[in-house]
Symmetry: C2
Subunit: 568 residues, 2 copies
């Protein structure tokens, strides 16, 4: 392709965005922002996206059939799964003006995911045990009502995605397929050039199962997720689900001291409090009051320096949803302003849960349940009973241990590139989708879903493979194999470039030929910014040979066309 003719060239004056991928992909002429989280793929960008999607398609074809479901769906389908009013990224369509309203006054759902379409579809076609197992997938644009979207292709209001759904007659059959899907996913990431750095991570399975879901996370410094790795088990946990044991704190305290309540007006943050009390942060205690969906009030206490994971806590409490109690409730229960809640003297109907981080401490602090007051030198066994049980409901942090082995986690930043999810009968039950056994009996259908964000992957690749000059595309997704540059203003040099372009094309090489009349410096800078794996230069001084340079390397070499071909 001739760069002079290509629509959408480099735009080095394009502004710096919050994320590397948004900045480089727009400077490089790959994408163009229409509004936050919504992009046009320019010719170069669409080539990369298509390469990514074709790799995904090739692998998915080994385990599923490709279909294409619509984005519009009747509301009734979403009512049937009870998700119409609960999914907070859901968008609907309606007529945009009076004339449209008169024409067809209907609202439809714009799908962010397709369980509501694929489940009734499967139900229409496959009902006999003989039809199972089966799986379908699609690659298409999806829509999410995202609020602030600042990370380029990593999160979009409109984005590209592969979603696959599998259907089974038993949990075992589902699990077998699920494991197979993991392998196929890893093949995708290998082919994309992300294999070495992409790991399978345990993540939340959602509200309807105790099982984990599995995320495919690419280790990447600018990643928005944090992974906690247990070496002895070779297992990665997403921060949201990593079990945690707090490191022990060494105390200098020799003996149990007298408890007292200390006035510390408006001192609420744990660090501030620790400084004020001249105690280590680990001696402070954070107590929060929660309300459950069963309208119970519970108190939860963690060691200073930790946050409470509502996801972990609600499983321990045994409720569906949990949220911080209202100011009024906190006041009523603690008889103090918000900020002074503690574990002492709570009303008997309030059940108190202690995180394991609060164990093994002497002379610790807790809120006094009295405005502006803090109780210090508190001790289990004296000031309150030693808890029957300690739990783990804190948000894990760096330095924490995996409880079963006491290993300190290794921590990585990472970016999610795919996820797979056991759905069991969550959606098939909503649609009464059962199958007939050989003996005619109706049995539940089990289901899984499997996503890969293809546009997101394009963003992750840029976050991972770039340097200060621009993008460094892996070969498998690069928009072209070769970036050819001719230098020099004389006819003979131009001819040499044109000839090499023709030769390479004849040999089936996919070449971007920068045939513009601009300075060599501009051509080199653009080549680095665009990031095609191999740069070839012809000029007066290259003679019959070609200067060969890989984008990822530094070395340049003078090679014959034959030698170049061998390397490509």
């Amino acid at each position: 392709m001739l760069y002079s003719k290509l629509f959408g060239k480099t735009n080095k004056k394009s502004k710096e965005y919050n994320s590397v991928n948004a900045t480089l992909l727009q400077k490089g002429g790959f994408i163009d922002m229409v509004m936050a989280g919504v992009y046009t793929y320019l010719p170069l960008g669409l080539k990369v996206l298509t390469n990514i999607e074709n790799i995904i398609r090739e692998e998915m074809n080994t385990i599923a059939y490709e279909v294409l479901m619509p984005s519009l769906t009747p509301k009734t389908a979403w009512e049937q799964t009870k998700r119409l009013n609960t999914v907070d990224v859901l968008m609907k369509t309606s007529p945009a003006n009076e004339a449209a309203l008169e024409k067809n006054n209907s609202e439809y759902i714009l799908n962010p995911t397709h369980e509501e379409v694929v489940t009734p579809l499967a139900q229409k076609y496959n009902l006999s045990y003989k039809d199972f197992p089966f799986a379908v997938y699609q690659i298409q644009s999806k829509f999410r009502n995202e609020p602030r979207v600042k990370s380029g292709l990593l999160r979009g209001r409109e984005f590209r995605m592969k979603d696959l759904y599998s259907f089974h007659t038993s949990v075992d059959d589902f699990k077998e397929y699920y494991e197979k899907a993991k392998e196929v996913y890893m093949n995708v990431f290998k082919k994309l050039g992300l294999g070495d750095d992409t790991v399978i991570t345990l993540a939340s399975g959602g509200s309807f199962t105790e099982d984990f879901s599995h995320e495919f996370q690419t280790i990447c410094e600018s990643g928005e997720d944090t992974l906690f790795y247990v070496k002895s088990k070779d297992t990665y946990y997403n921060k949201e689900v990593a079990p945690s044991k707090a490191p022990r704190v060494e105390y200098t305290d020799k003996e149990i001291m007298s408890r007292k309540d200390v006035l510390g007006e408006n001192i609420i943050g744990v660090q501030e409090l620790a400084d004020f009390l001249h105690i280590p942060v680990e001696k402070t205690t954070k107590t929060l009051i929660f309300e459950t969906d069963k309208e119970e009030i519970v108190a939860a206490a963690v060691r200073g320096g930790y946050d409470i994971s509502e996801d972990k806590l609600k499983k321990i409490v045994g409720c569906k949803t949990i949220k911080l109690a209202s100011k009024e409730d906190v006041k009523r229960i603690t008889k103090a302003e918000v900020g002074y809640a503690g574990v002492l003297n709570l009303p008997p109907e309030v059940k108190v849960f202690f995180d394991e981080s609060t164990d093994n401490r002497m002379n610790f602090e807790t809120g006094a349940n009295r405005t502006h007051y803090h109780s210090i030198n508190v001790n289990f066994g004296r000031d309150l009973p030693y808890p029957d049980k300690f739990y783990d409901f804190k948000v894990v942090k760096e330095g924490d241990m995996f409880p079963a082995t006491d290993e300190v986690y290794k921590v990585f930043k990472a970016s999610e590139v795919g996820n797979i999810f056991p759905l069991y009968t969550k959606f098939t039950a909503s649609f009464d989708y059962t199958y007939k056994e050989q003996n005619g009996k109706e049995k539940p259908v089990y289901m899984g879903c499997y996503g890969i964000g293809s546009s997101r992957i394009m963003g992750v690749i840029v976050e991972k493979f770039h340097d200060e000059k621009g993008i460094v595309w892996p070969k498998s997704v690069a928009p072209f194999q070769v970036h050819l540059i001719s230098i020099g203003k004389e006819e003979v040099e131009k001819k040499r470039g044109d000839q090499l372009y023709k030769d390479l094309k004849e040999k089936g090489v996919d070449v971007l030929y920068d045939d513009r009349e601009v300075s060599p410096g501009e051509k080199f800078a653009d080549a680095d910014l665009i990031g095609i794996p191999v740069r070839l230069v012809v000029s007066k001084k290259t003679g019959d040979k070609v200067e060969y340079k890989e984008r990822a390397g530094k070395e340049t070499q003078l090679l014959s066309l034959e030698e170049v071909m061998k390397r490509i």
Copy 2:
């Protein structure tokens, strides 16, 4: 592919729809209706759609660069072109529930077409005369707020489309590209198997130009459009724009008779009136009262049996929009109930326009402008002045002539498969998109747009190529090259089928192998319904050979594998 494993098989019990394509594509297991005008493409259907889109892509790549624009767009873009409140198929998105509303309370437009995206995009990249001409295209799902959609893939609320936009520094340059696009379009239709029956048709250019747009119409009995063909000029007109001259009527009247008003209570339809008055329909006159956007009232009269084309009339009157006057206005002007308007005695401020079909008549009828009364034996020159000018504002009908040559039109039913449209500066002016000439002067950018509905084409192909047994796919778009059937329950026959399947695949033939354990009758019926171009059968009686039959033909032949390969 093994048919036994394929998701989405034939479904012969599926109901009969209003259109052949909806019925056969659903019975055949190609598509599945999610709601009216919204379909899932099942694996077989997606293969056909992809084949169609790849043919389009291949041809478009010769004249444009492929991009992918988003479906979501900010409202401001549509405000800028003043189309936000006028396009009656426009849909918008909004949060679907309270939780979504809290998260991001924003509305976006869901594009049915992309002038509002591509024009500012082009403006961002191409500003110098050196950057012109250029063109971009995309293939994607589009959304239209259609009311009743009953014709399968021919009209959808969500459908697949290729849209291309070209940009130019002069009208001449635009016209040159436009002609080139016509050729490329015809190549597409040739490759799709529609070349012989697809014609370029003149259609309305819209409100901003006197030029025609051009439709690509496939002649097809079930087509929803009507084409009027002028043989001597080898020109097709869409019904909406075909100029028309009414055939002369032979009269038996010998002399001008006395005009009189006849009581005909509630007799309003022209046929009913003609019967009542014992005159030919051609002697009746239909007079309608219109109101223009300039708030003028005009009367328009055509010969009985014709309808009035508002599109033609508004150009003649010289206004932007025209609509039937309100009941109240008609009463005020004609001093009669609606239905008795005529050309006599109208108030002087009402300008009366006569269609040429009202000329050359003696003793004709017209409404009496008096409730329940009809004036008969009316004559120009006696009862009202002979009009200065006769116009053509009737809707053309079969039997009419092309005015310039007096040839009677040949009339065809057809289905639109593409259209191309001169936009000139309509959109570039809205965005102030100008380019810089060599001398630095800013000049207007000219633009054209070019559409092909890929899913619609899938429907048109089925409408055109089917018989009573099912679909007959053209080779270029068929889901597979060969439909292989093995008959017989013995192991040896099954083995023969399996072996042939393997052999064909090894030779690179794309085969659908019906390996199910169902009756030969069911397999044959399914093969005919699915419509793959070549059917191969192996059974006990075929021995070493294979029974070869083309879907479009009747003959079966026993051939060797080698002979089969030659024919494929």
